[in-house]
Protein backbone atom coordinates (compact mmCIF):
# COMPACT_ATOMS: atom_id res chain seq x y z
CA UNK A 1 0.00 0.00 0.00
CA UNK A 2 1.32 3.46 -0.86
CA UNK A 3 -1.04 5.31 1.45
CA UNK A 4 -3.09 3.96 4.32
CA UNK A 5 -5.58 5.93 6.41
CA UNK A 6 -6.66 4.31 9.65
CA UNK A 7 -9.72 5.60 11.53
CA UNK A 8 -8.83 9.10 10.43
CA UNK A 9 -10.99 11.79 12.07
CA UNK A 10 -10.97 15.56 12.01
CA UNK A 11 -12.97 17.88 14.20
CA UNK A 12 -12.26 21.58 13.61
CA UNK A 13 -13.87 22.88 16.80
CA UNK A 14 -14.93 21.08 19.96
CA UNK A 15 -18.64 20.33 19.97
CA UNK A 16 -18.94 20.61 16.19
CA UNK A 17 -19.69 17.72 13.84
CA UNK A 18 -16.70 15.72 12.59
CA UNK A 19 -15.46 16.83 9.15
CA UNK A 20 -13.90 13.38 8.81
CA UNK A 21 -15.36 10.53 10.80
CA UNK A 22 -13.19 7.39 11.22
CA UNK A 23 -12.14 7.15 7.60
CA UNK A 24 -10.29 4.01 6.48
CA UNK A 25 -8.69 4.02 3.08
CA UNK A 26 -5.96 2.12 1.22
CA UNK A 27 -4.41 3.61 -1.90
CA UNK A 28 -2.11 1.67 -4.21
CA UNK A 29 0.68 3.25 -6.19
CA UNK A 30 -0.42 4.40 -9.66
CA UNK A 31 -4.16 4.49 -8.92
CA UNK A 32 -6.34 7.27 -10.31
CA UNK A 33 -8.91 8.02 -7.63
CA UNK A 34 -11.75 10.51 -7.82
CA UNK A 35 -13.39 11.73 -4.66
CA UNK A 36 -17.01 12.83 -4.88
CA UNK A 37 -19.16 14.57 -2.31
CA UNK A 38 -21.15 17.70 -1.55
CA UNK A 39 -19.24 20.81 -0.54
CA UNK A 40 -18.69 20.49 3.19
CA UNK A 41 -18.73 16.69 2.95
CA UNK A 42 -15.10 16.50 4.10
CA UNK A 43 -13.39 15.82 0.78
CA UNK A 44 -11.12 18.89 1.01
CA UNK A 45 -10.27 17.95 4.58
CA UNK A 46 -9.46 14.39 3.50
CA UNK A 47 -7.07 15.54 0.81
CA UNK A 48 -5.38 18.10 3.08
CA UNK A 49 -4.85 15.51 5.80
CA UNK A 50 -2.88 13.39 3.34
CA UNK A 51 -0.16 16.05 2.90
CA UNK A 52 -0.74 17.38 6.43
CA UNK A 53 -1.83 20.87 5.46
CA UNK A 54 -4.48 19.98 8.03
CA UNK A 55 -3.65 17.97 11.14
CA UNK A 56 -6.11 15.17 11.87
CA UNK A 57 -7.69 15.02 15.31
CA UNK A 58 -7.49 11.26 15.54
CA UNK A 59 -6.33 8.20 13.62
CA UNK A 60 -3.18 7.36 11.69
CA UNK A 61 -1.73 8.01 8.25
CA UNK A 62 0.90 5.73 6.74
CA UNK A 63 2.83 6.58 3.58
CA UNK A 64 4.92 3.78 2.13
CA UNK A 65 4.54 1.87 5.40
CA UNK A 66 5.88 4.77 7.49
CA UNK A 67 3.63 6.62 9.91
CA UNK A 68 3.50 10.31 9.05
CA UNK A 69 0.57 11.39 11.27
CA UNK A 70 2.69 13.36 13.72
CA UNK A 71 5.67 14.41 11.59
CA UNK A 72 7.05 17.86 12.40
CA UNK A 73 9.54 20.38 11.05
CA UNK A 74 12.17 19.00 8.70
CA UNK A 75 10.63 15.48 8.57
CA UNK A 76 7.24 16.90 7.58
CA UNK A 77 8.88 19.07 4.93
CA UNK A 78 10.72 16.12 3.39
CA UNK A 79 7.50 14.08 3.41
CA UNK A 80 5.55 16.86 1.68
CA UNK A 81 8.07 16.92 -1.18
CA UNK A 82 6.79 13.50 -2.22
CA UNK A 83 3.20 14.71 -2.57
CA UNK A 84 2.30 17.53 -4.93
CA UNK A 85 -0.99 19.39 -4.97
CA UNK A 86 -3.11 21.39 -7.41
CA UNK A 87 -6.00 23.66 -6.45
CA UNK A 88 -9.35 24.98 -7.63
CA UNK A 89 -8.04 28.54 -7.66
CA UNK A 90 -4.66 27.39 -9.09
CA UNK A 91 -2.84 29.22 -6.26
CA UNK A 92 0.05 30.43 -8.36
CA UNK A 93 2.40 32.99 -6.84
CA UNK A 94 1.04 36.39 -7.92
CA UNK A 95 3.26 39.00 -9.58
CA UNK A 96 5.73 36.38 -10.79
CA UNK A 97 6.36 34.92 -14.20
CA UNK A 98 5.43 31.43 -15.37
CA UNK A 99 8.92 29.91 -15.18
CA UNK A 100 9.45 31.03 -11.55
CA UNK A 101 6.06 29.54 -10.68
CA UNK A 102 7.08 26.24 -12.22
CA UNK A 103 10.45 26.32 -10.46
CA UNK A 104 8.50 26.70 -7.21
CA UNK A 105 7.93 22.98 -7.53
CA UNK A 106 11.57 22.54 -6.51
CA UNK A 107 11.36 24.89 -3.52
CA UNK A 108 11.40 21.91 -1.19
CA UNK A 109 14.80 20.93 -2.60
CA UNK A 110 16.46 24.34 -3.06
CA UNK A 111 18.23 26.33 -0.33
CA UNK A 112 16.56 29.56 0.81
CA UNK A 113 19.54 31.50 -0.54
CA UNK A 114 19.14 29.99 -4.00
CA UNK A 115 15.41 30.74 -4.11
CA UNK A 116 15.61 34.30 -2.84
CA UNK A 117 18.43 35.35 -5.18
CA UNK A 118 17.05 33.28 -8.06
CA UNK A 119 20.35 31.46 -8.57
CA UNK A 120 18.75 28.65 -10.56
CA UNK A 121 21.10 26.45 -12.58
CA UNK A 122 20.58 26.06 -16.31
CA UNK A 123 19.65 22.39 -16.02
CA UNK A 124 16.99 23.30 -13.45
CA UNK A 125 15.54 25.89 -15.80
CA UNK A 126 15.62 23.30 -18.60
CA UNK A 127 13.67 20.87 -16.42
CA UNK A 128 11.09 23.58 -15.79
CA UNK A 129 10.88 24.25 -19.52
CA UNK A 130 10.45 20.53 -20.18
CA UNK A 131 7.53 20.50 -17.73
CA UNK A 132 6.01 23.51 -19.51
CA UNK A 133 6.47 21.71 -22.83
CA UNK A 134 4.57 18.74 -21.43
CA UNK A 135 1.58 20.89 -20.40
CA UNK A 136 1.68 22.80 -23.70
CA UNK A 137 2.85 26.18 -22.41
CA UNK A 138 6.43 26.36 -23.67
CA UNK A 139 5.79 29.72 -25.32
CA UNK A 140 4.60 31.30 -22.08
CA UNK A 141 7.75 31.03 -19.92
CA UNK A 142 8.18 34.75 -19.26
CA UNK A 143 4.52 35.74 -19.03
CA UNK A 144 3.11 37.11 -15.78
CA UNK A 145 0.72 34.48 -14.41
CA UNK A 146 -2.16 36.93 -14.04
CA UNK A 147 -2.24 37.39 -17.84
CA UNK A 148 -3.05 33.68 -18.36
CA UNK A 149 -6.51 32.13 -18.69
CA UNK A 150 -7.84 29.77 -16.03
CA UNK A 151 -6.96 26.66 -18.01
CA UNK A 152 -3.44 27.95 -18.65
CA UNK A 153 -2.98 28.80 -14.97
CA UNK A 154 -4.00 25.27 -13.99
CA UNK A 155 -1.48 23.91 -16.50
CA UNK A 156 1.21 26.00 -14.81
CA UNK A 157 0.02 24.49 -11.51
CA UNK A 158 0.41 21.01 -13.01
CA UNK A 159 3.89 21.84 -14.38
CA UNK A 160 4.85 23.04 -10.91
CA UNK A 161 3.57 19.77 -9.46
CA UNK A 162 5.52 17.75 -12.05
CA UNK A 163 8.76 19.55 -11.20
CA UNK A 164 8.29 18.39 -7.63
CA UNK A 165 8.74 14.82 -8.98
CA UNK A 166 5.99 13.60 -6.65
CA UNK A 167 4.85 10.07 -5.99
CA UNK A 168 1.29 11.26 -5.52
CA UNK A 169 -0.65 14.22 -6.89
CA UNK A 170 -3.55 15.63 -4.89
CA UNK A 171 -6.18 17.81 -6.54
CA UNK A 172 -8.71 19.92 -4.67
CA UNK A 173 -11.37 20.44 -7.32
CA UNK A 174 -8.75 21.23 -9.98
CA UNK A 175 -11.26 21.71 -12.80
CA UNK A 176 -14.26 23.16 -10.96
CA UNK A 177 -13.46 26.73 -12.04
CA UNK A 178 -12.94 25.81 -15.69
CA UNK A 179 -15.38 25.65 -18.58
CA UNK A 180 -16.43 22.10 -19.58
CA UNK A 181 -14.11 21.88 -22.61
CA UNK A 182 -11.03 23.15 -20.75
CA UNK A 183 -11.94 20.91 -17.79
CA UNK A 184 -11.86 17.87 -20.09
CA UNK A 185 -8.47 18.95 -21.49
CA UNK A 186 -6.96 19.33 -18.02
CA UNK A 187 -8.41 15.98 -16.92
CA UNK A 188 -6.94 14.37 -20.04
CA UNK A 189 -3.55 15.84 -19.15
CA UNK A 190 -3.77 14.41 -15.62
CA UNK A 191 -4.83 11.06 -17.06
CA UNK A 192 -1.78 11.07 -19.38
CA UNK A 193 0.57 11.88 -16.50
CA UNK A 194 -0.94 9.08 -14.42
CA UNK A 195 -0.61 6.61 -17.29
CA UNK A 196 2.89 7.56 -18.47
CA UNK A 197 4.62 8.43 -15.22
CA UNK A 198 2.66 6.30 -12.82
CA UNK A 199 2.03 9.14 -10.39
CA UNK A 200 -0.87 8.29 -8.08
CA UNK A 201 -3.79 10.70 -8.50
CA UNK A 202 -6.31 11.62 -5.81
CA UNK A 203 -8.68 14.21 -7.24
CA UNK A 204 -11.73 15.84 -5.69
CA UNK A 205 -14.15 16.35 -8.55
CA UNK A 206 -17.40 18.23 -8.85
CA UNK A 207 -19.15 16.00 -11.40
CA UNK A 208 -19.88 12.30 -11.55
CA UNK A 209 -19.28 12.32 -15.33
CA UNK A 210 -15.65 13.44 -15.00
CA UNK A 211 -15.03 10.89 -12.26
CA UNK A 212 -16.49 8.09 -14.39
CA UNK A 213 -14.54 9.13 -17.47
CA UNK A 214 -11.07 9.45 -15.97
CA UNK A 215 -10.69 7.38 -12.83
CA UNK A 216 -10.45 3.70 -12.11
CA UNK A 217 -11.75 4.08 -8.60
CA UNK A 218 -14.33 6.42 -7.10
CA UNK A 219 -14.69 7.31 -3.46
CA UNK A 220 -17.90 8.92 -2.24
CA UNK A 221 -17.95 10.94 0.97
CA UNK A 222 -20.96 12.11 2.90
CA UNK A 223 -20.76 13.95 6.23
CA UNK A 224 -17.17 12.83 6.80
CA UNK A 225 -17.84 9.14 6.15
CA UNK A 226 -16.94 7.06 3.10
CA UNK A 227 -20.24 5.86 1.63
CA UNK A 228 -18.91 4.46 -1.64
CA UNK A 229 -15.57 2.96 -2.64
CA UNK A 230 -15.41 1.10 -5.90
CA UNK A 231 -14.91 1.17 -9.64
CA UNK A 232 -17.00 3.48 -11.88
CA UNK A 233 -18.92 0.54 -13.33
CA UNK A 234 -20.20 -0.33 -9.87
CA UNK A 235 -21.42 3.19 -9.21
CA UNK A 236 -25.20 3.07 -9.62
CA UNK A 237 -27.86 5.74 -9.34
CA UNK A 238 -28.60 4.62 -5.78
CA UNK A 239 -24.93 5.12 -4.80
CA UNK A 240 -24.90 8.60 -6.33
CA UNK A 241 -28.03 9.43 -4.32
CA UNK A 242 -26.28 8.20 -1.20
CA UNK A 243 -23.18 10.35 -1.90
CA UNK A 244 -25.16 13.53 -2.60
CA UNK A 245 -27.79 12.92 0.07
Amino acid sequence: MQLKLENLSKQYNKGEAYALDKVNLDIKEGEFISVLGLSGSGKSTLIRCINRLIDPTDGNIYFEEKEITKLKGEDLRLYRRKIAMIFQQYNLIPRMDVITNVLAGRFGYFSANKIIFKKFKSNEIMEAEAALEKVGLINFTNRQVKTLSGGQQQRVGIARALLQQPKMLLGDEPVSSLDPVTAEEVMKLLWDINKNQGITMVMNLHTVELARAYSKRIIGINKGKIVFDGSPKDLYEIDIKEIYR
Partner: protein, 264 residues
Protein backbone atom coordinates in the same frame (compact mmCIF):
# COMPACT_ATOMS: atom_id res chain seq x y z
CA UNK B 1 -59.33 41.48 18.13
CA UNK B 2 -60.04 43.74 21.04
CA UNK B 3 -57.07 42.38 22.92
CA UNK B 4 -54.82 42.90 19.93
CA UNK B 5 -55.71 46.57 19.50
CA UNK B 6 -55.23 47.05 23.22
CA UNK B 7 -51.72 45.64 22.98
CA UNK B 8 -51.01 47.80 19.97
CA UNK B 9 -51.92 51.02 21.78
CA UNK B 10 -49.78 49.94 24.73
CA UNK B 11 -46.88 49.44 22.36
CA UNK B 12 -47.39 52.87 20.82
CA UNK B 13 -47.49 54.45 24.25
CA UNK B 14 -44.18 52.87 25.23
CA UNK B 15 -42.67 53.98 21.90
CA UNK B 16 -43.84 57.52 22.59
CA UNK B 17 -42.46 57.59 26.12
CA UNK B 18 -39.17 56.26 24.82
CA UNK B 19 -38.98 59.21 22.46
CA UNK B 20 -39.78 61.64 25.31
CA UNK B 21 -37.00 60.19 27.48
CA UNK B 22 -34.57 60.41 24.57
CA UNK B 23 -35.45 64.07 23.93
CA UNK B 24 -35.06 64.97 27.60
CA UNK B 25 -31.77 63.11 27.73
CA UNK B 26 -30.36 64.90 24.69
CA UNK B 27 -31.52 68.26 26.06
CA UNK B 28 -29.74 67.64 29.36
CA UNK B 29 -26.58 66.63 27.47
CA UNK B 30 -26.76 69.84 25.43
CA UNK B 31 -27.32 72.14 28.42
CA UNK B 32 -24.55 70.41 30.36
CA UNK B 33 -22.10 71.02 27.50
CA UNK B 34 -23.31 74.61 26.97
CA UNK B 35 -22.69 75.30 30.65
CA UNK B 36 -19.24 73.74 30.54
CA UNK B 37 -18.16 75.75 27.50
CA UNK B 38 -19.72 78.97 28.87
CA UNK B 39 -21.76 79.18 25.69
CA UNK B 40 -23.71 82.40 25.39
CA UNK B 41 -25.56 83.41 22.20
CA UNK B 42 -24.98 87.05 23.11
CA UNK B 43 -21.26 86.55 22.49
CA UNK B 44 -22.00 86.34 18.74
CA UNK B 45 -22.04 90.13 18.98
CA UNK B 46 -18.24 89.92 18.91
CA UNK B 47 -18.35 88.12 15.57
CA UNK B 48 -17.82 91.53 13.99
CA UNK B 49 -14.35 91.49 15.52
CA UNK B 50 -13.64 88.23 13.72
CA UNK B 51 -14.65 89.64 10.35
CA UNK B 52 -12.59 92.74 11.12
CA UNK B 53 -9.61 90.56 11.99
CA UNK B 54 -9.91 88.48 8.80
CA UNK B 55 -10.11 91.68 6.75
CA UNK B 56 -7.07 93.21 8.42
CA UNK B 57 -4.80 90.15 8.40
CA UNK B 58 -5.92 87.44 6.01
CA UNK B 59 -7.01 89.78 3.24
CA UNK B 60 -3.86 91.79 3.74
CA UNK B 61 -1.11 89.16 3.72
CA UNK B 62 2.54 90.03 4.16
CA UNK B 63 4.05 88.28 1.15
CA UNK B 64 7.62 88.99 2.27
CA UNK B 65 7.55 85.77 4.35
CA UNK B 66 6.55 83.61 1.36
CA UNK B 67 10.07 82.34 0.54
CA UNK B 68 10.62 81.51 4.19
CA UNK B 69 7.23 79.76 4.46
CA UNK B 70 7.93 77.73 1.32
CA UNK B 71 11.36 76.71 2.58
CA UNK B 72 9.89 75.64 5.93
CA UNK B 73 7.05 73.71 4.29
CA UNK B 74 9.65 71.72 2.34
CA UNK B 75 11.15 70.85 5.73
CA UNK B 76 7.68 69.83 6.94
CA UNK B 77 7.39 67.41 4.03
CA UNK B 78 10.91 66.14 4.68
CA UNK B 79 10.05 65.52 8.34
CA UNK B 80 7.01 63.54 7.21
CA UNK B 81 9.04 61.52 4.69
CA UNK B 82 11.71 60.65 7.27
CA UNK B 83 9.13 59.87 9.95
CA UNK B 84 7.25 57.58 7.55
CA UNK B 85 10.18 55.95 5.79
CA UNK B 86 12.11 55.01 8.94
CA UNK B 87 8.89 53.69 10.46
CA UNK B 88 8.16 51.65 7.33
CA UNK B 89 11.58 49.96 7.48
CA UNK B 90 11.13 49.07 11.14
CA UNK B 91 7.42 48.19 10.91
CA UNK B 92 7.89 45.54 8.20
CA UNK B 93 9.95 43.05 10.28
CA UNK B 94 7.91 43.89 13.38
CA UNK B 95 4.65 43.14 11.58
CA UNK B 96 5.81 39.69 10.46
CA UNK B 97 6.83 38.90 14.03
CA UNK B 98 3.50 40.31 15.23
CA UNK B 99 1.17 38.54 12.80
CA UNK B 100 -0.53 35.39 14.08
CA UNK B 101 0.30 33.32 11.00
CA UNK B 102 3.98 34.28 10.66
CA UNK B 103 5.09 34.90 14.25
CA UNK B 104 7.65 32.37 15.52
CA UNK B 105 5.86 32.12 18.88
CA UNK B 106 2.51 33.17 20.30
CA UNK B 107 4.20 35.04 23.16
CA UNK B 108 6.11 37.24 20.67
CA UNK B 109 2.85 37.89 18.82
CA UNK B 110 0.98 38.84 21.99
CA UNK B 111 3.82 41.00 23.29
CA UNK B 112 4.35 42.91 20.03
CA UNK B 113 0.66 43.48 19.40
CA UNK B 114 0.13 44.97 22.86
CA UNK B 115 3.22 47.17 22.52
CA UNK B 116 2.01 48.38 19.11
CA UNK B 117 -1.46 49.13 20.48
CA UNK B 118 0.10 51.08 23.34
CA UNK B 119 2.34 53.16 21.02
CA UNK B 120 -0.53 53.79 18.64
CA UNK B 121 -2.71 55.16 21.42
CA UNK B 122 -0.21 57.93 22.18
CA UNK B 123 -0.66 60.93 19.86
CA UNK B 124 2.42 62.20 17.95
CA UNK B 125 2.26 65.47 19.83
CA UNK B 126 2.95 63.74 23.14
CA UNK B 127 6.16 62.25 21.72
CA UNK B 128 7.07 65.67 20.31
CA UNK B 129 6.51 67.26 23.72
CA UNK B 130 8.95 64.70 25.14
CA UNK B 131 11.57 65.00 22.38
CA UNK B 132 11.61 68.78 21.88
CA UNK B 133 13.02 69.48 25.35
CA UNK B 134 15.20 66.33 25.51
CA UNK B 135 16.64 65.93 21.99
CA UNK B 136 16.51 69.35 20.36
CA UNK B 137 14.17 72.04 19.20
CA UNK B 138 13.55 71.54 15.48
CA UNK B 139 12.97 68.90 12.80
CA UNK B 140 14.81 65.98 14.42
CA UNK B 141 12.34 65.90 17.32
CA UNK B 142 9.53 65.90 14.76
CA UNK B 143 11.03 62.98 12.84
CA UNK B 144 11.39 60.92 16.03
CA UNK B 145 7.86 61.68 17.20
CA UNK B 146 6.31 60.80 13.83
CA UNK B 147 8.44 57.69 13.46
CA UNK B 148 7.40 56.18 16.79
CA UNK B 149 3.72 56.85 16.27
CA UNK B 150 3.91 55.52 12.69
CA UNK B 151 5.59 52.31 13.85
CA UNK B 152 2.60 51.74 16.11
CA UNK B 153 0.08 52.42 13.36
CA UNK B 154 1.88 50.64 10.51
CA UNK B 155 2.96 47.69 12.64
CA UNK B 156 -0.64 46.91 13.57
CA UNK B 157 -1.95 47.59 10.07
CA UNK B 158 0.67 45.45 8.32
CA UNK B 159 0.21 42.60 10.81
CA UNK B 160 -3.48 42.56 9.97
CA UNK B 161 -2.74 42.66 6.23
CA UNK B 162 -0.40 39.67 6.65
CA UNK B 163 -3.01 37.79 8.68
CA UNK B 164 -5.68 38.33 6.04
CA UNK B 165 -3.45 37.15 3.16
CA UNK B 166 -5.09 34.49 0.97
CA UNK B 167 -4.23 31.02 2.29
CA UNK B 168 -4.15 29.56 -1.26
CA UNK B 169 -0.61 30.48 -2.40
CA UNK B 170 0.66 29.69 1.12
CA UNK B 171 -0.79 26.17 0.90
CA UNK B 172 0.67 25.79 -2.59
CA UNK B 173 4.21 26.71 -1.52
CA UNK B 174 3.94 24.68 1.72
CA UNK B 175 2.84 21.59 -0.21
CA UNK B 176 6.09 21.64 -2.23
CA UNK B 177 7.90 20.99 1.06
CA UNK B 178 9.45 24.45 1.18
CA UNK B 179 10.78 25.91 4.43
CA UNK B 180 8.59 28.28 6.45
CA UNK B 181 10.66 31.33 5.41
CA UNK B 182 10.02 30.48 1.74
CA UNK B 183 6.31 29.98 2.39
CA UNK B 184 6.27 33.52 3.85
CA UNK B 185 8.42 35.08 1.10
CA UNK B 186 6.56 33.47 -1.82
CA UNK B 187 3.15 32.61 -0.34
CA UNK B 188 2.52 35.87 1.51
CA UNK B 189 4.90 38.71 0.52
CA UNK B 190 3.86 39.07 -3.16
CA UNK B 191 0.23 39.39 -2.04
CA UNK B 192 0.79 41.99 0.66
CA UNK B 193 3.32 44.30 -1.04
CA UNK B 194 0.75 46.50 -2.83
CA UNK B 195 -1.35 46.91 0.32
CA UNK B 196 1.70 47.72 2.43
CA UNK B 197 2.92 50.35 -0.04
CA UNK B 198 -0.51 51.90 -0.46
CA UNK B 199 -0.88 52.21 3.30
CA UNK B 200 2.63 53.64 3.62
CA UNK B 201 1.73 56.41 1.14
CA UNK B 202 -1.46 57.11 3.05
CA UNK B 203 0.55 57.38 6.27
CA UNK B 204 2.86 59.84 4.49
CA UNK B 205 -0.11 62.07 3.71
CA UNK B 206 -1.32 61.86 7.30
CA UNK B 207 2.23 62.54 8.55
CA UNK B 208 2.48 65.79 6.57
CA UNK B 209 -0.59 67.07 8.40
CA UNK B 210 0.70 65.72 11.72
CA UNK B 211 4.11 67.33 11.27
CA UNK B 212 2.35 70.70 10.90
CA UNK B 213 0.87 70.26 14.35
CA UNK B 214 4.22 69.07 15.73
CA UNK B 215 5.73 72.36 14.51
CA UNK B 216 3.41 74.19 16.89
CA UNK B 217 5.29 72.69 19.84
CA UNK B 218 8.68 73.46 18.30
CA UNK B 219 9.39 70.36 16.23
CA UNK B 220 10.38 72.28 13.10
CA UNK B 221 8.85 73.05 9.74
CA UNK B 222 6.21 75.51 8.61
CA UNK B 223 4.10 74.69 11.69
CA UNK B 224 6.83 76.11 13.89
CA UNK B 225 7.04 79.24 11.71
CA UNK B 226 3.27 79.66 12.01
CA UNK B 227 3.39 79.35 15.75
CA UNK B 228 6.21 81.93 16.00
CA UNK B 229 4.32 84.42 13.84
CA UNK B 230 1.15 83.81 15.81
CA UNK B 231 2.79 84.38 19.16
CA UNK B 232 4.36 87.61 17.89
CA UNK B 233 0.92 88.85 16.73
CA UNK B 234 2.15 89.03 13.11
CA UNK B 235 -1.19 87.96 11.68
CA UNK B 236 -0.39 89.20 8.16
CA UNK B 237 2.42 86.64 8.10
CA UNK B 238 0.21 83.97 9.69
CA UNK B 239 -2.11 84.45 6.71
CA UNK B 240 0.70 83.57 4.26
CA UNK B 241 1.71 80.56 6.38
CA UNK B 242 -1.86 79.27 6.32
CA UNK B 243 -2.19 79.70 2.55
CA UNK B 244 1.07 77.81 1.98
CA UNK B 245 -0.07 75.02 4.31
CA UNK B 246 -3.45 74.71 2.61
CA UNK B 247 -1.84 74.52 -0.84
CA UNK B 248 0.71 71.98 0.36
CA UNK B 249 -1.91 69.67 1.92
CA UNK B 250 -4.05 69.78 -1.22
CA UNK B 251 -1.08 69.01 -3.47
CA UNK B 252 0.14 66.14 -1.26
CA UNK B 253 -3.34 64.58 -1.04
CA UNK B 254 -3.76 64.84 -4.80
CA UNK B 255 -0.47 63.19 -5.68
CA UNK B 256 -0.74 60.70 -2.80
CA UNK B 257 -4.11 59.57 -4.17
CA UNK B 258 -2.69 59.08 -7.66
CA UNK B 259 0.29 57.09 -6.36
CA UNK B 260 -1.89 54.89 -4.17
CA UNK B 261 -4.19 54.04 -7.06
CA UNK B 262 -1.16 53.17 -9.20
CA UNK B 263 0.36 50.79 -6.64
CA UNK B 264 -2.77 48.66 -6.07
Amino acid sequence: MLKLSHENSKLKLSDKSKRVYLTIGLLILFLWSANGTKFNPLLFRDFGNTLNFIQKSFLNPDWSVLPMALKESVITVQIAIMGTFLALILAIPISFLGAKNTSPHWSIYTFLRSVLSFIRSIPEIVFALIFVPTVSLGPFAGVLALMIHNIGVMGKLFSEIIESADIGPQEAVASTGAKKIIVILYGIVPQVIPHVLSNAFYRLEVSVRASLVLGLVGAGGVGQLLSIHFRMFQYNKVAVDCLVIMTMVIVIDYFGGIIRRRVI
